[in-house]
Structure formats: C-alpha cells, structure tokens
C-alpha cells in the first residue's frame, strides 16, 4: 500500500497540496480528477516517490520512504512505474525503451554482456518486453525508432515501458488526453490488464466518463486537497460535498 499522511507541497508560492491523506491498494484503480493546475501531476509525482513533499509522510508497504537511506529508497522506488503527461521516450528503438527498466535493475556485468550481444546483433528480446508490448498491442513494432511513432503509439510504448519491469504500482498522468478513441480504448484495456495482475493503478484524468469506466475509486481534487474520495459509483451518484457535485455536473468552472 502507498499511503500519504498529512502531505503538503509547495513550489515556493502558495501550497499546491495541503494536508492531504490518502492511500492506494494493490489491484485497485484510483482515478484522480480535478481542474487543470490543481496539482494532479504533483500528487502523482509524490506517489511515485519522485518528489519529496514539503511536509507529511509518504509510506510504501509500511516503510517511510523519505526517512530510509538512499539505497533502500531506490529499492522502494523500483516497485513503482510512472507514465508522464508529456512524451518522454528515449531517442532509441521501441525495444530499447521498453527494456530500460529491466536493464537498470541488472548487475553491471549482465548489462555489459547484453550491450555486447546487441552490438553483435544476437540479442533476443526478453519475454517481459514482448509481453508488455502485447498488452498495448504494439508487439510488431519492436525495432521502430521511438521518434517515428505516432502520438498514440508513443503513449502506448511509455505505458509498456513502465509495465515491463512488473511494478506493484503504476502512476498514469493523463495517459489518454491527446488520444483518439482507438488508442484511448487500448490504454484503458491495458489499465484493466494491469489491475488484473494486482497492480495498484492511479490515473489522473480530465475525462469523468473515463473515470467512471475504469476506476474502482475516484478522488476529486479541488483547491489544495480532495473534496471527496471514495468508490466511483458513490462519488458520481451521490457526492456528499457541494463543490464536488458542482464540479461533476459542470457547474463549477475554474
């Protein structure tokens, strides 16, 4: 479980998150909805152990992430995957991108060996990489250059890249915001697959229908914290908070 307790974060001028507490369990999909600029990306970066919040505690599977030593924190970080809002693929082939997370987890000896083999052209694609690309329906574009991919394909490769090393938790920052229905469908299916594998998925999204389709729970981020967080159906059908109701019905415009 990832647990945030009384987390506040500021980039200098005014808090982005304030006194926020929440948790994510393995095997659930939690959607974070909220207006632009409210702090969804910031929250995901905190959950991915990528950003140390200004105050509050971040726990992963019972360990206080920012109190342990550097090497233990690295081990903890490696249980988590994240797909950024912006394209961030390496200037290399699709396979190279997807296998990256596996490579950095290998010993230097193994890494040198596979580097050597790939120079000789005899480097087989690992099963995990092929499987991850199958999940996003891209298992036939292995050798394509990442910068020649379409936006939708690039986003799917990013997803596969985070899935390949079998993380326990996956943070997805608006993974479908620029995508057409087909690519959106493929990503949503992939989220379902991840969930079945027992991965805890947190997905930030602008699309409330998407949240309704895929999420077990929804967190509504308004102002500098959650106005509401709970089971999807309950939050959408019967929000207890007035601002949540207005936001969901579209009355509340930021």
């Amino acid at each position: 479980m990832i647990r945030l307790s009384n987390v506040s974060h500021t980039y200098g001028d005014g808090p982005v998150l304030e006194d926020l507490s929440m948790s994510v369990d393995p095997g659930e999909v939690l959607a974070i909805i909220g207006p632009s600029g409210v702090g969804k990306t910031t929250l995901l970066r905190v959950l991915a152990l990528f950003v140390r919040p200004s105050s509050g505690t971040t726990e992963l599977d019972g360990r206080a992430v920012w109190s342990v030593g550097e090497s233990e924190r690295l081990a903890l970080r490696r249980r988590i995957g994240m797909v950024f809002q912006e394209a961030s693929l390496f200037d290399a082939s699709v396979v190279r991108n997807v296998e990256y997370g596996l490579r950095v987890r290998e010993s230097w000896r193994e890494r040198l060996r596979s580097q050597f083999r790939s120079v000789l052209g005899s480097n087989g694609t690992s099963e995990a990489v092929e499987e991850a690309l199958e999940v996003v329906d891209l298992d036939d574009s292995l050798e394509q250059d990442a910068d020649s991919l379409s936006g939708g394909e690039a986003q799917r490769v990013s997803f596969a890249r985070a899935l390949a090393y079998d993380p326990k938790y996956l943070m997805l920052d608006e993974p479908t915001s620029d995508l057409d229905p087909r690519n959106t469908g493929l990503i949503e299916d992939a989220i379902g697959t991840a969930r079945e594998r027992g991965i805890g998925v947190v997905v930030a999204t602008h699309d409330m229908h998407q949240a309704e389709r895929i999420a077990d729970r929804v967190g509504v981020l308004l102002g500098d914290g959650f106005s509401e967080i709970g089971p999807t159906e309950r939050v959408f059908e019967d929000p207890t908070d007035d601002r949540t109701r207005k936001f969901i019905s579209g009355e509340l415009v930021y």
Binding site: G81, D91, V104, Y165
Partner: protein
C-alpha cells in the same frame, strides 16, 4: 577526367622537395598530437559538462566564464605558458618535455578543452527534462540518468569533439612555440605538424609544397566532418 588533379598531385608528393617519409611523418605527428590531446580533453570535458548540466553549485557561473574565456584564449599565450611550465626553470622542467610531442599535447589539451566543454554543455542542457525524469522514474540511479543524458546528447557531444579536433589540428601558434617545428637529420618529422610545416614551406617560398600539405590538412578535417555527419544521419538526427 575527374581524377586529373589528384593524378597531377601524385608526382609532387613523391618528388623532391619531399624526402621519403617526410609528408607521412608530418601527418603522423599532427594526428598523434591532436588525437591524444582531444581524447584527453573529452575525458575531462564530458564529465564536467554533465556535472554542470545537472548540479547547482557555488561558483558554477565562474566556471562557465572560465570556459568561455578559454574558448577565445590566444593560442600563442597558451603555448608560452606551457613552454614556461616545461622549461628547465619551470615546474615540469625535470620531465624534459621541451620541444616534444608531449608538450604539444599539453598545449593542445588546454586549447581543445574549453570548446569541447562548452559545446557538450549546450548539448547536455538541451536534453529534455522529461527524458531525465523518465530514466529516474523507471528505476535508474544517478549514474544511469547521466548515461541516458550522454546517449541523448551523443550527436552534440560528437560535434563538440569534432570542433575540438578541428581547433587542435589547425592550430599553429602554440605547437610552434612548445614543439619547435623540428625534424630529425634524415628529414623525418619529430615535432613538425601540418600547420607548422605549411608555415615554414610558405615562408621559404616553396608554395607547391605548402599547398600539398595544406590540402592534406583540409582533407583530414573534411573527412572527420563527414564521419560525424554520417553518424548523425544513420542515428536519426531529425531533431
């Protein structure tokens, strides 16, 4: 015929005023000195560029201005300083490096390092923050992130090394001062480079010889350029 000029040059290359091995020994000295100096510069410059691109530290601005000043530093002054360092009274006097290739490597190193560092730094800072973040969030250590940055900046860094090599191999002032433009009694170059040879031949009125040596120099520079451009093409320079 397209080959004509080259065919005309060939006898000139073989005939007097060239003694056997004269041109090739000069080319060898030029390449030896420049390649070693630029390799050493690269080993220093790229890590410096990476650190400067990543880490904020006190005095970073100062280091930057040192690098920028170094880019425009007169090569004869560098030659003079190295000459002083390796001269009998200098701090490195006991090594007896005066008028040797090693002394020339030292001055070329000093001259090539600033441009290689500056251009590498520009390449490293040009790597998207997202890409660095991706390497880290996928489980990379700081070293892994640095390696990714080097990989992403590879064409920029190759360009930097090329520019450094271009400066080193075309440079006259400092190699003349610290190397002395020496040949041994059989006419084989000891510290004579293409540039210092061209300068000498031209001064002595042997324009044909000077032209041939100059052409060899240009050919080397063009060849190295072509290799880097080729690297860029096959590696996807499209950004």
């Amino acid at each position: 015929m397209a080959l004509d000029p080259a065919v005309d040059l060939l006898p000139a290359l073989l005939d007097s005023p060239f003694r056997e091995g004269y041109v090739s020994s000069i080319v060898y000295v030029s390449l030896y000195v420049s390649v070693i100096a630029v390799s050493l510069s690269t080993l220093v410059s790229v890590p410096v560029a990476i650190v400067m691109g990543f880490v904020d530290f006190r005095g970073k601005q100062f280091v930057k201005s040192v690098i920028n000043t170094g880019m425009g530093f007169p090569s004869v002054v560098v030659g003079l300083l190295v000459l002083f360092a390796v001269s009998n009274q200098g701090p490195l006097g006991s090594l007896e490096l005066i008028f040797t290739k090693e002394a020339m490597i030292m001055s070329q190193f000093v001259l090539a390092t600033p441009p290689i560092t500056a251009i590498s730094l520009a390449a490293v800072t040009g790597v998207e923050g997202n890409v660095r973040d991706a390497a880290r969030v996928l489980g990379g250590t700081r070293l892994d992130v640095a390696l990714v940055v080097i990989k992403e900046a590879r064409y920029g860094i190759a360009t930097a090394v090329l520019a450094g090599f271009g400066r080193a191999i075309s440079e006259v002032g400092s190699v003349l001062i610290v190397g002395g433009n020496i040949t041994s009694s059989d006419g084989i170059s000891k510290t004579r480079t293409l540039t210092t040879a061209v300068q000498l031949e031209a001064r002595q009125g042997r324009y044909e010889t000077a032209m041939v040596l100059g052409a060899v120099l240009v050919a080397i520079v063009l060849l190295v350029n072509a290799v880097v451009v080729r690297l860029g093409d096959t590696g996807g320079m499209g950004r």
